[in-house]
């Protein structure tokens, strides 16, 4: 590797440093239930008893009403695209430490019950992706109750 120099040709000394703070995130009962249900190819959210809004993925409380969520709700196995973005710059998958292949697509979607959420889109051609189109989930063959059990969403057959 060539030595880096400043304008006067003096060597620039840098310290290369890779930071690591290994740790463990608690799942807690709410996110724990959500992840566990991924094994069965099921998507679950929570409903607020006060405003009736469904939140997906589930949360501990309704941020609008500031009350505990009242009940679990099983989501439909399809959703509709609200908006999307095709990403061309590489980013690291924080769970594996590996670079994601590019391009990849982020879909913003809404379930029939009104819960908005985002996830990966399997389709990367912006000409084919349109707001309002119907999408269905694509599951990993081997599911372990981890976020990666749900690979992404693909345009439904018309």
């Amino acid at each position: 590797m060539a030595t880096k120099t400043d304008k006067e040709g003096r060597e620039l000394v840098e310290i290369r440093y890779e930071m690591g703070i290994p740790g463990t995130f608690a799942k807690g009962p709410i996110m724990g239930y959500f992840l566990e249900k991924l094994k069965e190819k099921e998507l679950w959210g929570t409903r607020c008893g006060k405003c009736n809004n469904v939140i997906f993925p589930p949360r501990v409380l309704c941020p609008k009403c500031m009350v505990d969520m009242a009940e679990w709700v099983k989501m439909e196995d399809f959703a509709h695209i609200v908006t999307f973005d095709v990403v061309h710059f590489p980013t690291i998958n924080p769970l594996t430490g590996e670079m994601r292949p590019v391009p990849y697509t982020s879909l913003f979607m809404v379930f029939p019950n009104g819960a908005g959420f985002f996830h990966f889109g399997i389709e990367h051609d912006p000409e084919k992706i349109k707001p309002g189109k119907k999408v269905v989930p694509v599951w990993a063959d081997k599911r372990e109750g981890r976020p990666a059990d749900l690979l992404g969403w693909v345009l439904a057959e018309e």
């Binding site: 930071m19 703070i21 608690a26 807690g28």
Partner: protein, 391 residues
């Protein structure tokens, strides 16, 4: 004209070595509920809670917005504001008090959380507090800094390790009366002396254990405070000060920054004789040597003589100024949180709600928080009930 400020509600979790079954929100939400239910307040700027101060640390939480999960709990999206304090929790309380005293807000919620257990090592986090060119290469972290300071302090004043070993013994004994404390019980100085060496002269029982927990409180200006509670606890003085970041710049056996922080708090609260005017104190002691050391910084003893104040019983439960009736940080409060826990404990004492560790008739209290390596930063709060002068 500064306005009077009171804490009107304050709650803390039990402190555990590892709350493995709770995420941050699950740990904090019950406290927010207790504070809002108790006061009947909602997050409505202008007509309820106006503003939020959170306290947490990005490295401990392993995300660059450690206050992110707190948004739902402190009214995100309700057109109020939020600020995060990433140092000791006493500063979160101080900050909240300042926003009210200045007239910016009437009612402010403070929410502080920390899960030290979440990272594989607390020392890896505090290692990253140091600059990368020199100190990191030397493997510096806060535990090591405590050891260096303890050596410096004990050597300077000729204090034996055995005398310091009595401090965690009293902390564990006081902690037995505090149902929220983690590490309590009947231990002897011999137990402390033979516990695992960590960073000489600090031993395992002499150092605050890794713990998880949270604190929530609500502060209000005087008129609203009176409407919200019968027993407001006034913040009558506060101060903070920090010393050099580079350990080599400091005389590690003296604590000028604490002296200055205390002087500022005493001046605002009109305290000229702290030992006589204070009824109870909760101070942040991360390792045994700090207890007498902080006594000196707080102006309660001459340099090197803090240990005598401890040994003659002046700071015992029945002494002139009971210190850490809760057991204090040595019984287990995470870094960042201790000052907020100390303030909450003072709140309970001044409302006569401290249960088995209540100091009878306490009217005026001192809460202290510390941050940075080897007591670099200090914050001091003076609190009083209606009899302790709202100033």
């Amino acid at each position: 004209m500064l306005r009077n400020v009171a804490i009107v509600s304050a709650h803390q979790t039990k402190f555990d070595g590892n709350k493995a079954d709770e995420r941050f929100q699950e740990m904090c939400w019950p406290l927010v509920k207790k504070c809002t239910e108790e006061t009947g307040l909602a997050f409505v700027p202008g007509r309820g809670i106006d503003f939020a101060i959170t306290c947490s640390d990005d490295f401990f939480d392993q995300r660059t917005i450690s206050d992110g999960p707190m948004g739902d709990l402190v009214g995100a999206g309700r057109w109020g504001g939020e600020e995060k304090v990433a140092t000791d929790g006493a500063m979160a309380v101080l900050y909240a008090a300042a926003t009210i005293a200045s007239g910016h807000y009437d009612i402010v919620i403070v929410l502080a959380h920390a899960k030290e257990s979440q990272v594989d090592s607390r020392n890896i986090v505090t290692f990253h507090a140091f600059e990368p060119y020199y100190s990191r290469f030397l493997g510096m972290d806060y535990t090591k800094a405590l050891g260096i300071q303890a050596d410096s302090y004990l050597t300077k004043w000729g204090i034996s390790e055995e005398r310091i070993a009595a401090i965690p013994v009293r902390a564990a004994k006081n902690g037995k009366n505090n149902p929220l404390a983690l590490r309590t019980g009947d231990i002897s100085t011999a137990d402390v002396m033979k516990s695992k060496p960590i960073s000489s002269p600090i031993k395992e029982l002499d150092l605050y254990p890794v713990s998880d927990g949270a604190v929530c409180m609500i502060l209000a200006e005087e008129t609203k405070a009176r409407a919200l509670t019968d027993k407001p606890v006034w913040i009558t003085g506060y101060g903070n000060c920090y010393d050099s970041y580079f350990l080599g710049d400091r005389n590690l056996w003296e604590s000028t920054s604490l002296t200055r922080a205390a002087r500022s708090a005493y001046r605002l609260a009109g305290i000229t004789d702290p030992l006589a005017q204070l009824d109870v104190a909760e101070i942040s002691v991360q390792a045994g040597y700090q207890e007498p050391f902080w006594y000196e910084g707080l102006g309660w003893a001459e340099p090197g003589k803090g240990i005598e104040l401890f040994e003659n019983g002046d700071t015992d439960m029945k002494g002139r100024l009971p210190v850490n009736p809760s057991g204090g940080q040595l019984c287990g409060n995470p870094l960042l949180l201790s000052g907020a826990v100390r303030a909450t404990e003072c709140f309970l004492q001044l409302r006569n709600e401290a249960g088995k560790h209540q100091v009878k008739g306490a009217k005026r209290a001192l809460a202290h928080g510390v941050a940075g390596p080897a007591g670099q930063f200090h914050a001091v709060l003076i609190l009083g009930n209606d009899e302790g002068g709202k100033k």
